[in-house]
Point group: C2
Chain length 185, copies 2
Amino acid sequence: MADLFIALVHYPVLDRNARIVTSAITSLDLHDLARSARTYGVRRFFIVHPVAEQRAFATSVIGHWQEHPGRVFDSRRAEALALAQVVGGLDEAIAIAETQSGSPPTLVATSARTSEGISYESLRGKLDDSAGSPVLLLFGTGFGLAPEIMRRANLVLAPIRGVGDYNHLSVRAAVTAILDRLRGI
Amino acid sequence: MADLFIALVHYPVLDRNARIVTSAITSLDLHDLARSARTYGVRRFFIVHPVAEQRAFATSVIGHWQEHPGRVFDSRRAEALALAQVVGGLDEAIAIAETQSGSPPTLVATSARTSEGISYESLRGKLDDSAGSPVLLLFGTGFGLAPEIMRRANLVLAPIRGVGDYNHLSVRAAVTAILDRLRGI
């Protein structure tokens, strides 16, 4: 399998009025996404935030579960959160992914609002190829990734569709559904 | 399509030591599961809790978003939470599902620990049959549904598998992955 990385982006993202904002890190996102990342064989889960205090908060949440007594209380959280890495920007995540994999990752943006994109079957095929380039999946908090991130991505992934046209999954839910389609059995 | 219902069970469930406990309702579960339920065409999302104060808490969370000013602030949350219904026990959920669908639901338990169960393809086939009986999917909080619920179910669904043997998804993530496999496109 090719290496799969995910990044939870807190800036630049959109708010409900499509303004570009910086969202706050929530500890629950860290836990849920780390557990999903660990379940689906993600190599590293980046938390992207430009504000140092927010990065310190995320680092403290992760550290709590990796040290005594958090690790002793629930070693499975420690195991999942070991994948989490807090970075100040997307460039830092890309650089780390490239160092770990030996080649630059293909940036794949996700969006609930895009009308088309690469299919899950096609991206799964790329990931199943162990000689394939690494993939960094980008997820936006708030109301989604800002246009500048969408434009920077090499690919946009098709949106998750259920029944009808309501598609307002939480980012926790969307990450899991997407990873399950790409790696689930 | 056959009617699909889901129930988030807070009693009887297991704790980390496999003791039978009652778990607390968290508002985030209500939001995330309601949004996933709405996305995947679930007919009703039951929150099962035996304690009246906990049911009142859940009802107040749901009501906040269905009334002014919550509805005005985010109508999509209102639309999702309109599917949520708080009940005191599983029998009440079953009775409501039967009333809504006209026939008793097939109870399908979910578990991360079961070694086998009905496949997603098979259950999806049953749900695609508009003449099929309604299905009530049961999800456990804490460390999963207690044995008495597992025994009572007509079917157990195969566990979600990713890469390797780590499968400690949050209930929010597991519900979404399962609904996506049964109803996603």
